[in-house]
């Protein structure tokens, strides 16, 4: 097993700047919704009042995962995501009078998510290089991870998914370093501390990932049991226990109710096979992961075990939740943290394959990029409200009322189709939504939906800005991206 090391220093910065600039250029216009709004409101409450009280910013519907206790509404989760947003919200509070429409605040929130996904990209690139892949192959997979999977959407919306993805991947990388260390030394202890800190932070960011954290600890224990020192074990377990304590104290403080349980099989079906949320549909390149893991099992069995065990832990914990879908978001939010691990397996197994297999990789990457485009250009909240309007227009308003996520199991309501359909109407300026909608097979007399036109805007921040600042900001980002791309190319060629 190759001992993981960082990306070459001279490549990290231009790669980070390139991805960050591109993601910031496609930052959203739609206001935050769902858990992202809860996290941002918590961060704003921390900055403005020093409390976790989000009552002034919304109610139970607009701020999911919140509870009321002692006259205050507080989030039961997303604490890590909120802490990551504190700088952005501090900027928002400081510029409130200067920027009444909160454009700077919105840009800062999006930039936080972009920075985190850019970090994921840099760490992923470094890991692939340490795995022995060539610079160009590693760069291809690193960019595919960001732009050919739903991760690109989470690089625009700061809901904690990007942070969880980063921490889980860093933890997995550190776990491999701990296991591969031959002797106990300073580097080994550093790796153990990195594992512990990333796992502790991971459970604070998303307590659902506790099972994955425990699986990583168990994997380390299993593969290093015979030479496990107390120092290394303490460096792993103490930060993890600290993270768990923070979660427990936070939940006790806010008066969180016990987590509800959903239907495990429905969740697994939804995350893996459904037409509305399948990981394989939203990130087609991940279809190559199962055969890649089979190959990996023969050559690097311990790493294959790690990927399988962590994937099972993430998927089971997510599927067991009633909100396994994580809406309103693009793609299977709760399965997104798996993407780097799955794609690393693909990279390891497929980079040495024949040219025709590499063509398949290229095609799946291109399809992945094409699929993300409508997801970025139309807000998921807009499409879900259209589904609600269609449901209401059928005359059976209680349809899906109990479990709105059931629409993800109806192919005609898949957001992949729905977003593309709405985008085509927006591009053509076509108001006739009753003509050939994707759900025509289900409704012989589709509703006109004329009232959705004002809600149907391109989800791009520049639409809402006045032209001059928007052009200046976009030009600055484009120059930064071009300079980073040029530097990256030059340094990779020289390398």
């Amino acid at each position: 097993m190759t001992k993981p090391s960082g990306a070459p220093r001279h490549v990290r910065l231009p790669l980070f700047v390139l991805v960050f600039a591109i993601l910031t250029m496609v930052a959203p216009a739609a206001p935050l919704a769902g858990i992202a709004r809860t996290a941002a409101s918590t961060a704003r409450a921390l900055v403005a009042t020093g409390t976790l009280d989000v009552a002034p910013y919304g109610d139970a519907v607009t701020l999911p995962s919140t509870v009321v206790r002692d006259g205050r509404r507080r989030a039961t989760t997303a604490l890590g995501a909120a802490l990551a947003l504190v700088p952005a919200e501090a900027l928002a509070v400081a510029t409130r009078t200067l920027d009444p429409q909160a454009r700077i605040a919105h840009a800062a929130e999006a930039a936080t998510a972009a920075a985190l996904v850019s970090l994921v990209c840099v760490v992923f690139f470094g890991t692939l290089r340490a795995d022995g892949l060539g610079a160009r192959t590693a760069l291809f997979f690193a960019l595919a991870l960001v732009f050919a999977t739903p991760l690109v959407w989470y690089g625009r919306v700061p809901d904690g998914t990007a942070l969880a993805t980063l921490l889980l991947f860093v933890a997995a990388r550190a776990a491999r370093a701990v296991v591969s260390a031959d002797v106990v030394g300073p580097a080994d202890r550093r790796a153990a501390l990195a594992l512990g800190v990333s796992l502790g932070a991971l459970v604070v960011v998303d307590p659902t990932l506790l099972l994955a954290a425990l699986v990583l600890v168990a994997w380390c224990g299993l593969h290093r049991f015979d030479r496990l020192g107390a120092t290394v074990a303490a460096r792993v377990l103490v930060p993890l226990a600290a993270g768990l304590t923070i979660v427990a104290v936070h939940r006790w403080h806010v008066g969180a109710h016990p987590e509800p349980h959903g239907e495990l099989l429905q969740g697994l079906d939804g995350l893996l096979l459904s037409t509305g949320k399948s990981l394989f549909l939203y990130a087609p390149i991940v279809m190559l992961a199962p055969p890649a893991i089979v190959t990996l099992w023969r050559t690097r069995r311990a790493e294959a075990q790690l990927v399988l065990a962590v994937a099972a832990a993430v998927l089971l914990a997510a599927a067991e939740r009633p909100d396994w879908h994580g809406d309103p978001t693009w793609g299977p939010r709760r399965a997104v943290p798996l993407l780097p691990l799955a794609l690393e397996a693909v990279a390891l197994a497929w980079s040495t394959r024949a040219a025709n297999r590499r063509t398949l990789l290229g095609v799946l990457t291109a399809v992945g990029i094409a699929l993300q485009t409508p997801g970025i250009m139309i807000s998921p909240s807009t499409y879900l409200s259209v589904v609600t309007d269609v449901r209401s227009a059928t005359g059976a308003p209680a349809w899906f009322a109990e479990v709105p996520s059931e629409c993800h199991f109806v192919p005609q309501f898949s957001p992949l189709l729905g977003h593309a359909w709405l985008l085509s109407h927006r591009v053509r300026g076509d108001h006739h939504f009753e003509v050939n909608p994707p759900y025509l097979l289900l409704l012989s007399n589709p509703p006109k939906l004329e009232h959705i036109w004002p809600k149907l805007f391109f989800d791009w921040f520049a639409i809402g800005w006045t032209p001059l600042p928007a052009i200046a900001w976009l030009a600055a980002l484009a120059v930064a991206a071009a300079a980073a791309a040029w530097t990256l190319r030059r340094r990779l060629v020289l390398a």
Binding site: T49, V68, G71, L228, G229, A234, A241, L244, E402
Partner: protein
């Protein structure tokens, strides 16, 4: 060593997952169903800490109709249609196998404060008018005085003339509220309404 350390970690995880036993409690999560005319409400009765199997029974205010005709009112989730322009509520009673029984009430009108005093003295009755407060308070419900920084105070609901109805709630200003400015809030069944203006309590 690792095996020893894993045990406490797993125990904390179990505690976090809610595996520890709790006192029996019931709450209702309710919200209007998007896009429905007339508005329908989705209600979920969530019980915790009862000895299984549990029995659930809904009781609806006059004029509230369950959607779907003569559907049994003994499932944990139900959809109802409240009457228009009339306060309404739903009550869920849960009984455990050992006979323990508790209930919770949820208003079927969105909670809002219409009027609340902006000045008061300690001990004075605080009358808050609005809608959606429910016909009776659940555990933890009441009028709350929340400062910009620091601990929130519950207004005294045990004082003389303190009342609770769907459209008005009254309670007395506690002594600890003296000389400060507070946000007045009404908490009812996991929902919260905030008074538009703050309350200044005289020194």
């Amino acid at each position: 060593m690792l095996r020893k350390a894993l045990l406490p970690t797993l125990m904390v995880a179990c505690a976090l997952a809610g595996a520890c036993s709790r006192a029996p409690s019931v709450r209702i999560e309710g919200h209007p169903v998007d896009g429905t005319r007339p508005t329908l409400w989705l209600l979920r009765c969530i019980a915790d800490g009862f000895v299984a199997p549990v029995k659930t029974q809904w009781k609806l205010a006059v004029g509230v109709k369950p959607v779907g005709g003569n559907v049994p009112l003994d499932e944990s989730t139900t959809i109802v249609q409240p009457p228009e322009r009339m306060p309404a509520w739903a009550q869920c009673t849960v009984t455990g196998a050992d006979g323990t029984s508790t209930h919770a009430v949820h208003s079927l009108t969105p909670i809002a404060i219409g009027a609340a005093p902006t000045t008061a003295k300690v001990g004075e009755l605080l009358l808050v008018r609005g809608s959606g407060f429910g016909n009776e308070p659940n555990r933890g419900d009441g009028v709350w005085l929340v400062p910009p920084w620091g601990r929130a105070l519950a207004a005294d609901a045990t004082c003389k003339r303190a009342t609770w109805s769907d459209a008005a709630v009254s309670a007395c200003v506690p002594a600890a509220a003296r000389g400060r400015t507070w946000s007045v809030r009404v908490q009812s069944a996991d929902t919260l309404a905030i008074a538009p203006k703050p309350l200044v309590v005289a020194p």
